[in-house]
Amino acid sequence: MTSLILKWLAAFAAALVLQTSFVPVISIARVGPDLPLVVLFFFCIRHGMTLGICVGFFLGLGLDLYSPSLLGQNALAATMAGAFAGFFNERTMRTDPLVKSALLLVVFIVHDSIFLAVQSLKLDGPVSAVFGGLLFHCLPRALYSIAVAGLWYARDFLPKRLAKR
């Protein structure tokens, strides 16, 4: 149990460190993957909704404290994303990488919708900004993140394919 906690703590810590150090380097047109959200997704589909909500809340809260966003904005978005990903956990669904990728895309959309909606409400911005943000920011970021997450699947997937050949 302790090793499991440490493993996930290390995963989140690594994701946060890479997000601040490595992601800006690999960003294309200021669009880069959201590694903490990807790790949160993997955590939630592995450990379920309750833990996903708790971890998402604290992860979002931590991001709120260290980013210039409204306090609670990231927390709410990550909580909802964690709840959504946790609902489709591995105990209740097949663990096909393609399905996971699709789910990850939806998780990103849920997360960014809530994030942008809160921003729009608090700062009295236009609703169209939410859709604009989803289309031009969320979607590329989600696709990039799915591509990065694909590297994780590739670790288990490629050797099997190669072995078949």
Binding site: T20, T50, I53, L61, L76, A83
Partner: protein, 277 residues
């Protein structure tokens, strides 16, 4: 009460979602001052270990950036130091040359070597002074340490110097101590020798200076040192091997002694002799 607890346990996912969402909404709806207070309280308590961790990673990031900046600075300063060292060496050389200029009563034209004979044995060099500076053929070329060669061709702004290493070059020299005269010559461009009569007073370590008898070099310019004496089969002569004083492979700044050849007075007669059938 038990009913409530059971509800929480059974619907713990929904409960946690509700509580987390409620907390988020409360934080979002609180005034900015309260938000700041919550942020500070959380940063100082719950998130302190993470804050410490992130401050360390940020510090490491800064260290990397500083390390990179310092490396660039070191590279820049290394180049600067190399340039300054080169300047110091050049200054020393030029100071030496100025020393020579004060020692000799000749008019000296300072010059830089701008090109060398590309062959393995550099027999000649081109310097950046020529007829415009009053340089003419057969003028001696020296360095701060001694004789280097002579001008064989003077052009407008540059001149060709025949160095001592050229086997075609023969220089009238004498032993500084005993005043025995001879001709400094080389066959291969690296070994220099002077043939003396067998009974000449020559010893290893003797200083060789120009004799002034060749018509080109003034008397008394340092040429080299006797390193070895060889008694040949010929009982009449002995051979003194000489190490040149000037390192001709590293020639950079030189002086041209603006002294016309002593043959200049006989130039017309010499030319008429050459022209005669």
């Amino acid at each position: 009460m038990q009913w409530i607890l059971r509800f929480f346990v059974v619907h713990r996912s929904l409960t946690s979602l509700f509580v987390a969402s409620l907390l988020c909404v409360l934080m979002l709806s609180s005034p900015p001052a309260r938000q700041q207070w919550i942020s500070r309280a959380l940063t100082m308590s719950v998130f302190y270990p993470f804050q410490f961790y992130f401050s360390q990673t940020e510090r490491i990031k800064n260290i990397y950036a500083e390390n990179r900046r310092l490396k660039e600075q070191v590279a820049f300063l290394s180049v600067k130091v190399a340039q300054l060292t080169e300047n110091v060496r050049e200054n020393e050389r030029l100071t030496d040359l100025l020393g020579i200029s004060s020692r000799f009563s000749f008019t000296l034209a300072p010059a830089r070597v701008v090109a060398r004979d590309p062959s393995y044995l550099s027999r000649s060099a081109i310097i950046d002074v020529g007829k415009n500076e009053g340089v003419a053929a057969y003028m001696p070329v020296i360095t701060s340490r001694g004789v280097a060669g002579k001008i064989v061709q003077a052009m407008g702004r540059m001149s060709l110097v025949q160095l001592l290493v050229d086997p075609a070059n023969r220089t009238g020299v004498m032993i500084g101590r005993s005043r025995e005269t001879g001709i400094l010559e080389t066959v291969n461009g690296s070994d220099f020798s002077i043939m003396f009569r067998a009974h000449a007073d020559v010893e290893v370590g003797d200083t060789i200076v120009t004799s002034g008898l060749g018509g080109i070099y003034p008397k008394g310019l340092l040429a080299g040192t006797v390193t070895k004496l060889e008694e040949g089969r010929d009982p009449i002569f002995k051979k003194a091997f000489v190490k040149l004083e000037v390192n001709l492979d590293r020639l950079e700044e030189v002086f041209v002694i603006k002294q016309p050849s002593q043959w200049a007075a006989f130039r017309d007669e010499l030319d008429s002799l050459e022209a005669a059938p």
